[in-house]
């Protein structure tokens, strides 16, 4: 559905996106993470044929973004970073206007508008001017606009920003539903929990380059190392020497707890429990230390900063 190869974009002397390669299939969600100015919006704009890539190529819904831009734009639904709503227009009229632009028949427009407004809880506000809407309502209306023509590809820039938790949940549920309809979805977000919940793939972008890409589990393993486990003990450890079985590496210890890493938890964890009991430390609990996308993200950013600094110092030398 979405395929990019070495996609780059330069503005005069500034490189906004550099050699980005992505692949998002039907029914998949890709979360594009990165700090402000990393190149997420520029990537989305190239994928929606709004900006022309300086080099590389991209196909969206089977169309080339450079040579078939009109077809690409007809196939994507874009939720822009700024809602871009007309404040003096009533919500229904606004969606009808976009329905006409997407060449939907009057009947189809009416049906889609009512169905989407109902889905997002805005059906009572169809005749209200957009200017009277709250931030969250505006965001939902903008999302309804992006979905109006039922596009096979969705590019969502910050879909739940400025939303209250209830509305954000509503939108996340909507995205879950949309994925099940076999769409390819790209989400740019700063909300890492949301990305972890929604995305099959994560791509972290920094200074226009993809610095990490894969599933959340792959990234955790790659960037944070093997999974870590914490064992809570029934008695104090004091300064007793601990012997852990082969395959378990002690990473930390406290008064009545230890943490260890292992590549083979299935075999090593029972052995650790047994060893601790045999050494006179009854085990209360053993559980995996929670690792979230935030740690992955921060680790990726930190590693990239170190690389950049090393490259820069190498150049000076």
């Amino acid at each position: 559905m979405i395929l990019t190869e070495e996609l780059s974009k330069r503005f005069d002397s500034f490189t906004a996106v550099e050699r980005v390669s992505l692949q998002v299939g039907r029914g998949q969600v890709l979360a594009l993470l990165g700090p402000n100015g990393a190149g997420k919006t520029t990537t989305v704009r190239m994928l929606s044929s709004v900006l022309r890539p300086t080099s590389g190529r991209a196909q969206v819904a089977g169309y080339d973004v450079l040579t078939q831009s009109e077809q690409v734009r007809a196939s994507v639904g874009v939720l822009t970073e700024n809602h871009g709503l007309y404040h003096r227009m009533p919500a229904g009229e606004y969606l009808d206007f976009f329905g006409q632009i997407y060449s939907l028949s009057a009947e189809r427009r009416k049906q889609r508008i009512h169905s989407l407004l109902e889905q997002f809880g805005l059906e009572q506000d169809i005749r209200r001017s957009v200017g009277e809407f709250s931030k969250g309502m505006r965001q939902k209306l903008a999302l309804a606009r992006a979905l109006l023509h039922d596009p096979p590809v969705l590019l969502l820039d910050e879909p739940t920003s400025a939303m209250d938790p209830e509305s954000a949940r509503l939108v996340r549920n909507a995205i879950h539903t949309l994925r099940s309809e076999e769409r390819a979805i790209v989400i740019c977000t700063h909300n890492l929990a949301e990305a972890e919940e929604l995305a099959d793939q994560i791509a972290i972008i920094r200074q226009g380059r993809i610095i990490a890409q894969g599933t959340a589990a792959q990234l955790k393993e790659r960037l944070l190392g093997p999974p870590e486990f914490e064992v809570r003990l029934a008695v104090s450890l004091d300064s007793a020497a601990l012997r852990l079985p082969i395959g378990a590496v002690l990473t930390m210890r406290g008064d009545d707890w230890i943490r260890f890493k292992t590549l083979e938890p299935r075999w090593v964890n029972p052995a650790v429990t047994q060893a601790l009991v045999e050494q006179g430390f009854p085990v209360v609990t053993l559980q995996e230390t929670p690792r979230n996308l935030e740690q992955v993200y921060l680790q990726a950013m930190s590693a990239a900063s170190v690389n950049t600094a090393q490259t820069a110092s190498g150049e000076v030398i």
């Binding site: 503005f11 005069d12 002397s13 704009r45 929606s48 044929s49 709004v50 900006l51 022309r52 009109e70 077809q71 734009r73 007809a74 994507v76 874009v78 822009t80 970073e81 700024n82 809602h83 871009g84 709503l85 007309y86 003096r88 227009m89 206007f97 976009f98 006409q100 632009i101 997407y102 060449s103 903008a142 606009r145």
Partner: protein, 490 residues
């Protein structure tokens, strides 16, 4: 069967045309509806449509009554049509504000982005918005003219001729198109309404001069001149629309987020383009200058036609406004002619330098004027010396001297170099002015202009200035000698 095959693309083209028009009108309708919801637009439009014409009626009536008391009805007669033009113009002045709001305002509020993500083409968006910015002010203008005419007929029984009425309607229309299309060009180069308003001075100031000129025509009552004003503005509107279409595109609209003057980047683009990547002078001439001259062929042809028109205009002027034969100097070229020039210090390197500097000044002025007029005024300036030569030659012939001898004696020795320099210089200026009207091809307006300026500088430094220098040397050291030999025997 063949007919069916042939008809299919035609009907497809028709369908595509209607589809384009339909989508364009979707934009127009929304924009107009939006304008009608904005009291800041509605109030001035209503005032200028209904109240202002009534005020002008009152003014016309008072003025006519006043001047009749002093037996000077001609002032009143001229004032009434002048006010008709003003009544038509005032409502369309709002179109400038609407256009800036519609183009750069949408860009600033980011409401244009969802439109840019839609399947609409750049041209559909551009034309839809252009039409929306024009329609309400023009309707107001037409209505205002109607209100004024009814009032003025009721009060002083004045009716314009159908031609004058058509001229006023056309004039109002093209003025609105020029202002709106100019505002769009300004809008494409800015990211805020504030900056666009500042750039709009480049539209307001020439329009103010134009209105003053048209006012003079209205008081002069030589209404046929209005056709030229209409034609000129149609051409300018055409060029502005072409420029707008070239630069109102997604890349240009979203590719720049802030208006920064990046001098380093500007110099880099200019330098790279100027040197054409060449390190030696020979390589620069071969790969840069010669290539430019080949690329200039269309501009050279247009300039050549313009110079021929200059000759025609000179000939016409000589027939209409002949010089008195006694001031034709050809007969006075005696043996002292060369000595007199020497005494004046003309025949010296300084004399040649002064001629060269004068030519450079004209070139600089023509370039400056050409940059703001798509090359047109620059070209007109370059036509001037050629027209003057033609004018003098015809007068010399009318005074009984041989025009061929005159041309061979006073023009040809240096003209053989100077005229090609004028031709190439004029083409370079036209090319630079026309840079803004060409499709962007992935470049920003600034980038395209800098590259155009580099090409202009290359031609000027590589060809035109050396030719002018050579011409100046010939004019000082050779032409007077040739002139004395050929003309002293006349």
């Amino acid at each position: 069967m063949t007919e069916h095959v042939a008809a299919a693309p035609q009907s497809q083209a028709r369908l595509s045309f209607w589809r384009n028009l339909q989508l364009m009108l979707v934009i127009t309708r929304r924009e107009i509806r939006d304008q009608l919801r904005d009291w800041r637009i509605i109030l001035p439009v209503i005032t200028l449509t209904l109240i202002f014409p009534a005020l002008m009626n009152f003014t016309a009536k008072q003025a006519v009554d006043f001047v009749q008391r002093y037996n000077a009805p001609v002032i009143g007669e001229r004032l009434v049509p002048f006010l008709l033009m003003i009544v038509g113009f005032f409502p369309i002045s709002v179109s400038l504000v609407i256009a800036l709001e519609s183009f750069v305002g949408e860009k600033e509020r980011r409401s244009i982005e969802p439109l840019l993500c839609s399947p609409l083409s750049d041209a559909q968006l551009y034309l839809g918005k252009l039409l929306a910015a024009l329609t309400p002010p023009l309707l107001a203008s037409y209505l205002g003219i109607g209100v004024y005419l009814i009032g003025v007929y009721t009060q002083v029984e004045w009716r314009p001729s159908p031609t004058l009425l058509a001229q006023i309607y056309l004039l109002s229309t093209v003025q609105a198109v020029v202002m709106v299309s100019g505002a769009i060009v300004a809008s494409t180069q800015t990211t805020s309404v504030r900056a666009a308003n500042l750039l709009a001075s480049f539209i307001i100031i020439p329009m103010a001069f134009l209105i003053q000129g048209e006012a003079m025509v209205m008081f002069w009552a030589n209404y046929s001149v209005l056709w030229w004003a209409i034609l000129g503005q149609v051409l300018i509107a055409g060029l502005l629309i072409r420029t707008g279409l070239a630069y109102f595109n997604r890349e240009e609209l979203l590719g720049r987020e802030i208006d920064i003057l990046n001098l380093g980047w500007m110099w880099g683009v200019f330098r790279r383009s100027f040197t054409s990547g060449q390190r030696s002078l020979w390589g620069w001439y071969r790969r840069g200058v010669l290539y430019d001259l080949v690329e200039l062929r269309s501009a050279l042809l247009v300039t050549l036609i313009a110079l021929l028109m200059g000759i025609y205009a000179g000939v016409q002027a000589a027939q209409q406004f002949p010089m008195p034969p006694e001031i034709i100097p050809a007969g006075r070229l005696t043996g002292n002619f060369y000595l007199e020039l020497q005494k004046l210090g003309f025949i010296s390197p300084l004399g040649a330098g002064l001629i060269w500097l004068q030519n450079l000044r004209v070139l600089a002025l023509a370039t400056f004027l050409g940059m703001f007029t798509f090359g047109v005024l620059g070209l007109l300036l370059m036509m001037l010396p050629i027209g003057m030569i033609a004018y003098i030659t015809v007068n010399v012939a009318a005074a009984g001297f041989s025009p061929v001898t005159f041309l061979l004696a006073l023009v040809a020795p240096h003209g053989v170099v100077e005229i090609p320099a004028i031709l190439i210089g004029g083409a370079a200026i036209l090319n630079l002015g026309a840079t803004l009207t060409r499709p962007a091809q992935g470049k920003t307006l600034g980038e395209a202009f800098l590259q155009g300026a580099a090409r202009w500088a290359r031609i000027m430094l590589g060809v035109v200035l050396p030719l002018f220098l050579l011409a100046a040397l010939l004019e000082v050291f050779i032409t007077p000698r040739v002139a004395q030999i050929l003309l002293s025997g006349l």
